[in-house]
Amino acid sequence: MEGMKEHFRQSMAWLHTWTGLLLGWLLYFMFVTGTVGYLDTEIDRWMQPEAPMARLDLPAESVTAQARAHLEAHAPDAERWFIGLPIDRNTPYPRVLWSGAAGEAVAARGNLQLDPQTGAPLMGRDTAGGQTLYRMHWTLHYLPRGVSDWLVGVATMFMLVALVSGVIIHRKIFADFFTFRPGKGQRSWLDAHNVTSVVTLPFQLMITYSGLIFMMFIYMPLIVAAWYGPGDQNRQVFFDEVFDPPALVEASGKPSPLLAFDRIIAQTRQVWGDAPIAALDVRHPGDANARIVVRGDLAAGPLRAVDVLVFDGVSGALLAEQSALRSGSKAFRDVMLGLHEGLFAGPVVRALYALSGLLGSAMIATGLVLWAVKRRQRIERTRAAPHFGLRLVERLNVASIIGLPVAIAAYFWANRLLAADMADRAAWEVHSLFLVWLALFAHAALRPAARAWVEQGWLAAAVFGLLPVLNALTTDRHLVASVATGDWVLAGFDLVMLALGVAFAAFAWRVGARTGRSGRAEAVHRKGAPARVAE
């Protein structure tokens, strides 16, 4: 019996090691960009410093009137108008979207934010912003969705396997709960890996499992196909039936003036009281069959679903009412998605989300380092030459763990340094990220791994620590000005960058001190290495 248990633990250890390693770098990318995603609109703001401070206290009547004026002028005869109201940090500015517009010099579809003061489109530099950085978390940016969705899905499944097998092979979860013994090589890395995983285990399980739920219709396509038939068209029928609000109809072709939004808002207040209105979704504006769909707050709590009211766009009659809470199993899904995205989170919970994400990234990073440290120590004991796999992992570790943050900083640098009128400016911000990352992979491949850690560490310290300086040199929204005007989104960004700079400097300094010591010892019995270190 005991032997069987031990055998089980050993096979779980094998599983943990290899599921963790194989897609570990991809998971690290997903964790880092996902963590950044908890601060997406704050990053948007920093990357478009021309934009005014958000105003979340604007009355729905004036916002919708401004938005309607814009849509009537620039999106006539549209099939659909969508007006997002600025009610929290998730939607800092009024937003208008439209599709199916027709007319001379009219864009068929559009999506833009409005200046809350003037009602004119928000002007600012062309930027990919925090949104693109956040979306990379699952789109992986350059890959077609058909590939990235499945790659992300397999990685997430691996993550879940690694989490569960990790719990099984950890012999002393409770006894080692607070145990971190620094300065002891492999032991310290294992402690760090254990502490970061165990103290955030509920978050890691939630985020991984809910990540799979997010894409359930993609990972289990045959469930839909079984009842709706195969193919994209049948799939769309399913999505329309499940996710579209009720009481929608085709356009009649007979024009009829769209009701004033004020009346719809007043009627909504009679039903919802003071609960905020997050969006007006108008189907067939100006048609006799117009519908105005009023959507409630998606971020009211962890249940990521909204109350919906559907009004006749001409008579103002309330046609249908749909509650956010419709069934237990749907609520389970909605809570999972809500917990994953954390849209409801205020400043404190948002900070804790970011911390948990960082610790998750650290969990993956320490696991990857542990794999390499373990094998490096074994090799040094036997004085064997490091095999190709170990050298590869060591280099991939440096270029991912430190290289990715540097590349993200490069994204911010590109935002400030690329010419304002450059063609495809937003795309080049993203290209900068990946080009810099590629360069760091090359650097890690060419330098001895121990040196690469230190060098990329100092580089990270410099690019993060100097970002506030760059910001001060290239805009008038420097840290002092932001603090003076109480603009805590911009000030917070600068302060976090400074803190990251200090953290990377401390890391580089510590690793440098350590490799300096062991590097000299190593030089005694390894020819070639000292010459490269001296470069």
Partner: protein
């Protein structure tokens, strides 16, 4: 402010739970806890965590309060682990070490 209160209570709770363990108890007192002390510290620790949950739930309701609580526990446990790792040299006497353990609390909570 409520979150800070819950943070401090959770700190106290996790500190008590840590001190119920041999390894961490020895750091402060150079001996294993007596069976009674171990039991009392565990009870105190659990009570602290429960009190922190109560504060979170009273402030933000069950759904968001419990999420806040989980997040706080992660942060607090990490802090305690770091404090035990870096801020408590083994050689110090219990009085000095106990004084140092005050570093767990944020500065504004000290000296009442």
């Amino acid at each position: 402010v409520i979150a800070a209160l819950a943070f401090v209570i959770a700190c106290a709770g996790f500190t008590a739970l840590a001190l119920a363990m041999d390894r961490h108890h020895r750091v402060l007192y150079r001996r294993s806890p007596s069976p009674f002390a171990r039991w009392a510290l565990r009870a105190l620790g659990c009570a602290g965590l429960a009190a922190a949950l109560a504060v979170c739930v009273a402030d933000a309701g069950w759904s968001e309060g419990s999420i806040l609580w989980f997040g706080l526990l992660s942060a607090v446990a990490l802090c305690i682990a770091l404090v035990f790792a870096y801020a408590m040299p083994r050689s110090e006497g219990s009085a000095a070490a106990q004084h140092r353990s005050g570093a767990v609390d944020p500065p504004w909570m000290q000296g009442d």
